[in-house]
Symmetry: C2
Subunit: 463 residues, 2 copies
Amino acid sequence: MQIKRVFTLLIALSFFTTPNAQENNNANDSLMVRKIFDEALENGRAYADLRSLCKDIGARLSGSISAEMAVQWGYHRLNKYDFDTVYFQEVIVPHWERGTKESGYYQSKDGTITKVNLLALGGSIPTNGTMEGEIIMFKNRDALLKATKKQVEGKIVFIAQPMDQKMITTFNAYGACYPIRGLGAVDAARKGAKAVVIRSLSLSEHEHPHTGTMHYAEGVGKIPAAAISTIDATKLEKLITGSKEELTFHFEMDCKVLPDKKSHNVIAELKGSENPNNIITIGGHLDSWDVGEGAHDDGAGIVHSMEALRILKELNYKPKNTLRVVFFMNEENGNMGGKTYAKKVKENGENHILAIESDRGGFSPRGFSVDGKKEHLDLIRSFNTLFKPYLIQHFEFGYGGVDISPLKKEFEDIGLIGFVSDSQRYFDFHHNANDVFENVNKRELQLGAGSLSALVYLLDSYY
Amino acid sequence: MQIKRVFTLLIALSFFTTPNAQENNNANDSLMVRKIFDEALENGRAYADLRSLCKDIGARLSGSISAEMAVQWGYHRLNKYDFDTVYFQEVIVPHWERGTKESGYYQSKDGTITKVNLLALGGSIPTNGTMEGEIIMFKNRDALLKATKKQVEGKIVFIAQPMDQKMITTFNAYGACYPIRGLGAVDAARKGAKAVVIRSLSLSEHEHPHTGTMHYAEGVGKIPAAAISTIDATKLEKLITGSKEELTFHFEMDCKVLPDKKSHNVIAELKGSENPNNIITIGGHLDSWDVGEGAHDDGAGIVHSMEALRILKELNYKPKNTLRVVFFMNEENGNMGGKTYAKKVKENGENHILAIESDRGGFSPRGFSVDGKKEHLDLIRSFNTLFKPYLIQHFEFGYGGVDISPLKKEFEDIGLIGFVSDSQRYFDFHHNANDVFENVNKRELQLGAGSLSALVYLLDSYY
């Protein structure tokens, strides 16, 4: 055998761990982490809890009666697990409703019509009856930004931009494509368009359109905004590219904005035995979009968080710091739960040291991303050998989560930590009718709960 | 902020890479690996090829006409991709057929009957009409081995042993539970049982029974062997444990063993430009069980292997060594394809240096397991930084694959490498009716193909 080593730069040693990182790995920790995963896998409640949230309640957009049901569900479920304290925290949330009319089609010069599967983007104004207009297609946002007013005026803008298949972490592809949804209505209205229709933000070709927030800007007219399914978008793009034919788009949406409404975050705690005023939060968001069942987004995060603390309690772990599970309201269209929580924590004079969020679905755990200081990342990397048997190996700087992000303004030294799961299937389900309980795998969900519970245990022990 | 580091043992540096491992990572390699993944994700053929194998052919057990269709399919598909040479390699395979009658139920003393979903294990003898007998249940294989002949004689043994949920790598749980399927008939017959019925080897509760090989032993009577679904097994176990009632089991199977049959491995090559007699094989198995569509097991391995070489050809890569894709026949019940291939390679005086197998499903890639020498593992670990952007981080000693394993007898210095994917969902589909194309995710499959193609490129470059 001949193994040639052509490049001999000896950088191997610093690859996975920073040179000065230390290892936290003793037999007790190893045993405790094993017990945590055993409990998650053998007696786990995450899957049954998720089934209940998805099936007994279902979709739960802020302001809806379903969201209020979810708040009650959360309170009673947390009480059932007998945490030290369970309470509501008032949050004022926006209230947008989809309405009951939502359909559309496009038409060729020869009269042929093709129906599309369409969803209003969250926050869109209605069409007030059928809206119709000539379609002008743009391959991507940049092309739209370069267009002249004359080209666009009075037309319906169709942005065909797909998410980039080449990006390995699908959240990066989502981030890169997000502006067509978040800002498409502003971009198009600035050029005089009467409406905007976008390709759904998904990496797979399927029939379900994806919804999600969109924004209007002060001083720019509001126009209706919708997404069509990726299958419809691909077909429409091909037709326009191929035939150069002029098509008209026709659609109706009776969505509406209602006055803000009172809702709640739901919070439970295991009180710290040494430093009760030091807070470590683990949370997800209780609201979801109004299609599907909010199973991955973010039912998974809700049951992950609850299960993480239930397991520690079940194993009779006495935390040093106060461990808090927070079910945040209104992540999807306003983040009022996250903002309210951060403000209240500060007002109450609590010392919020760490916050962990699970909002990337109930898939196989891969690790954690750290929005904090080098010390936070080093600490998490020091758990390397403890996590390795559970195939958890990703420990990098990165995003924490939407709900916990407002804490950063209030606490300079806080470490925000995002749960990272395998992201490949996430955008098959995100914000669409397919985000249902049946598309969550029991073991993958349980392993996520175990990894979060182990992280909370280790952070509480070593921070 | 206070980060306490209680345990300061500085073992971090030797954690992921061995101390003397080197890094192979230059700009050209990094660029080439990026091109490989781009091709896999943007122009990949793996998913369409898998759809064709699953839908145009479907299940393809050795000896069946479907298996012969698969051989023809493989030959023509490989030719389509215009490799340097494509050829058949004759393999004599066993021929077992399930037959058309396969059903069963159990009955209480009061006459209540409960139907079960049941599959004959591969290789089982038939029941010759309805077989019935009193059920004796064992919690696991050990309990059966400890039983007396008097307890078991004339009864139908039911082994209720489940796969262990606590094992993180599901293949380990499968390996630990495998003896109830592989050896259950021998164990039970030694105690005088008239038949054996096992709980299906799966980690999830669902209605589809799992088939798979079973064995008889010389000098031990042959008895029929079947698996019932995990849902049925759980229900039956509870009933027996709870009521202590005597139940009878009734079932019919008309499976049969037919004479061995001629079949083929299908092989294609990209000839080596420097060392054409040095062979690097990448393969999977073309046969499957006779239920489902053999999508994950091992349609994924077939299209992974073909795609790995197609991508290198598409990118105009000229290999130093001969790269060979092998579609092995008969992995499931005899491994005659693997055995024949190893023998022929030796006879032909070829120098087989490395073999890679993909037979762990079309899930998200996690890395590679190495059945070889430390030098093989060190070499693969030297690609760490090249694979990290693709979230591939598992490089450990471990199993290569069934099909490539006979090469080890012929080539002492060979390195066998197994593709390791995320294993959590594998045993939801393995050997049952759910192993269909729809349960394979396009991106996960494509990423697997990309990672294998990149590995082949790097091994060919640096070995």
